[in-house]
Symmetry: C2
Subunit: 445 residues, 2 copies
């Protein structure tokens, strides 16, 4: 099987019907986010690289057709028109790392553009959610390093890998995830769990053994039995061994702010000024923000569970909607879910007062166009982007983000406007649909 079976069934039934009806003209689908989740002043675009990988490799092979036939209870011959379909279309999108709700426009023959929907939504939705949550942690930490400890609670290993990569995209300093660190070139972090202390019996034995096994800077976990005593023991061992610079102690439970103050006092009293304090345990951007504002002497924040699953907003209200078929703009009118028709461009203007316009408006609106052509005829326009490139986009956009959008609590997201041309088209298409395309409820049957 290729990746073509990673799909909702209805993409297949629709594609089959399009093919049997001869409806293979060019279609444009637009992926966009209807509304930001609560407590989000911005979103960081992510997932596009995974989507381009998927589209580059997309091909319905004979095994896929067998699977489609099997789940539909049909014969493979019935689904033969799907065999060999590849994605040879165009993709225009806001590249990864930009601070902007994701927007991807895919143009291809209708069956192909439809078939890829599920995967495209899945990746953009999940990766944008997590990248945006990670970015808020970086803002909350206000210059302190943030590291990713999420792998044990993400929704599978694949999701854990993405969390590590997306954290790095927005400035995380490291990850506990070995495979992700290796393949994405990230700094791997992590030293010991409570079990390590327990296996040795005394904390001191454990700390000394760890330092023996791991030459170089070490981090001692100090809260297995009693945090204050654990810090004192760690300090004694660090002093005895002549360690300190580059080393750290980790607090993983209790009142992290208060314990950090006590820990700092003990470390300083032992002249361990350069020994850092790492805090972990249920942290998210709200908790980090509170600790930073209270001036807790914490040097590094390790975030995990709540970030890796994007706990307060684990999904986006995103959609992948047909906006044009065979050069005809189309839209949906369902209550509260009206979609704007036509192919679009988003123009970044000062203060993030973005304008959503039609792609070919004349004269072109002011502002910097955010959607770029990233795939043509099924080929990437440029090489697979390095993580650094996305990180630079993020940092550049972050510098210009309005303060109200950056705040952790009750942020205000910048509002985008529709252009005059696009607003007029919405009115025109609605009028056309109401006049020509809707059924008649009266005496209809």
């Amino acid at each position: 099987m290729s990746n073509a079976t990673s799909t909702d069934l209805y993409e297949v039934t629709m594609a089959q019907s399009y093919l049997s009806e001869g409806m293979t003209r060019s279609a444009t689908f637009s992926l966009f986010v209807r509304i930001l989740p609560p407590d989000r002043g911005f979103l960081v675009c992510a997932g596009l690289d995974s989507v381009l990988d998927f589209l580059s490799a997309y091909r319905v092979d004979a095994d896929d057709v067998d699977v489609f036939a099997s789940v539909l209870g049909r014969q493979p011959e019935d689904l033969a028109p799907l065999l060999g379909l590849e994605f040879r279309g165009e993709v225009r999108a806001v590249p990864e790392g930009h601070i902007e709700p994701p927007r991807v426009e895919i143009t291809a023959p209708l069956p192909q553009a439809q078939l890829v929907e599920t995967y495209v939504l899945n990746q953009l939705n999940h990766q944008t959610s997590v990248a945006s949550k990670c970015a808020r942690c970086v803002l909350a930490a206000d210059g302190h390093p943030v590291v990713d400890f999420s792998l044990r609670r993400t929704h599978g290993i694949e999701a854990g890998h993405q969390a590590a990569r997306l954290g790095a995209m927005v400035g995380f300093a490291g990850t506990s995830n070995v495979a992700a660190a290796h393949s994405e070139g990230l700094t791997a972090v992590g030293t010991m769990a409570h079990s390590y202390i327990e296996a040795f019996g005394t904390e001191e034995d454990a700390f000394r053994a760890f330092a023996r096994s791991h030459p170089g800077p070490v981090t001692f976990l100090v809260d297995t039995y009693d945090t204050v005593r654990g810090v004192a023991t760690a300090a004694r061992v660090l002093r005895d061994l002549g360690l300190g610079p580059g080393c750290a102690i980790r607090l993983d439970s209790g009142d992290l702010g208060a314990l950090a103050v006590q820990a700092r006092t003990i470390l300083d009293a032992a002249d361990l000024w350069e020994t850092r304090i790492v805090a972990s345990g249920g942290l998210d951007e709200f908790a980090v923000d509170s600790l930073v504002r209270s001036e807790a002497p914490i040097d590094t924040y390790a975030v995990g569970t709540r970030i890796g699953v994007c706990a307060d907003a684990p999904y986006l209200d995103s959609a992948y909607k047909l906006v044009e078929y065979d050069s005809r703009p189309v839209m949906k009118l369902s209550s509260a879910k009206v979609t704007a028709p036509g192919r679009k461009q988003v123009f970044r203007r000062p203060g993030y007062a973005d304008l959503i316009a039609l792609v070919d408006e004349q004269p072109p609106p002011d502002g910097v166009p955010l959607l770029e052509s990233v795939m043509r005829e099924g080929q990437r326009v440029s090489e697979r982007a390095e993580l650094d490139t996305a990180r630079r986009r993020f940092m550049t956009d972050l510098a210009a983000l309005p303060p109200g959008a950056r705040t952790i609590r009750a942020p205000a997201a910048p509002k985008a406007e529709l252009s005059g041309h696009l607003s007029s088209l919405v009115v025109d298409v609605r009028r056309y649909i109401e006049k020509n395309l809707m059924g008649d409820a009266h005496g209809a049957v």
Copy 2:
């Protein structure tokens, strides 16, 4: 690379240290859930089969050692003691499908038992969360079929596959996920999206084309432009084509309860008594419960986003703790995170008044032991379990679950008790640790 790099770095640093210290005696780690998430009266154990697959295949090969060395900035020779490690230990666990907070006890030489922590937590945590959410949907639907539409919003494709499988484990009637339906032997469901209607122009043209392409029962999506008119159009087409039994209309927006009443009226007026009504669009167990209680004439509930990501509780407060090393019971004392020492068994007693006891208590407590030996010397005790086996366990347990735990809103989870022996051991081990293992905060440095 094998699966051994799917891990937090600290498992590797600890294992390396255990090996260099000669600490390779038998350890038992216990995976358990500290507290149920809000709005959960029960959890459904899931993820164990994935864990057993992982453990069966676990092996640190030379490529893995290279990866470990690379991310640690060490030479592969430094990590040579890890090379070739396999999992040849024992696993006792509550099997998949049981209604019980997950509990897994892994016994192996300390390094191996430590190295597998991250993956074990990842799978048990995620799969139990989603299975439990799905089970609540089944309860809310009160006998109406529930189907899974979550793939487009799960945290990656792997998570989507699990959601489909776990839904089926607790009684879902189908899934939109093609690959999962095929490999897990599930019923695949789904017909058309709004884009299909829009591509044709009129709803009637779209419905007729779909019926032409897909002989057999069809489901028409009726809310693209105006739901009531859409139902009337669907009814007319179904009548004209002599369809009806096995067919359905799908409502995907608006006030689903009110629209279902109107849709039923229109369908019945057209003598389409056997045409069913499917509802979708942002549904979870709370929304399904409200619709069922209001006696909305909805036949099938399609749940997606909120279920696939387990939106209101996307993680569990689970832990993987060392409870015994070299026959010595151990525990952690950190504030609010005390762990009970020793290897355990859980006894199911009438009314779910479970007793958590030591595994070898004499005389054995009353009740049915829930932890089974599922792996010995790294080999599964029985064949890979069929999904049907887990489903039967779930259905059996569900029949005995107290009503207070089954309710959707403000459920009351049954409370488990610790046995007298286990309570005494907690006290004894705490006393031992306080006397012998903790550092001294006074004049320590």
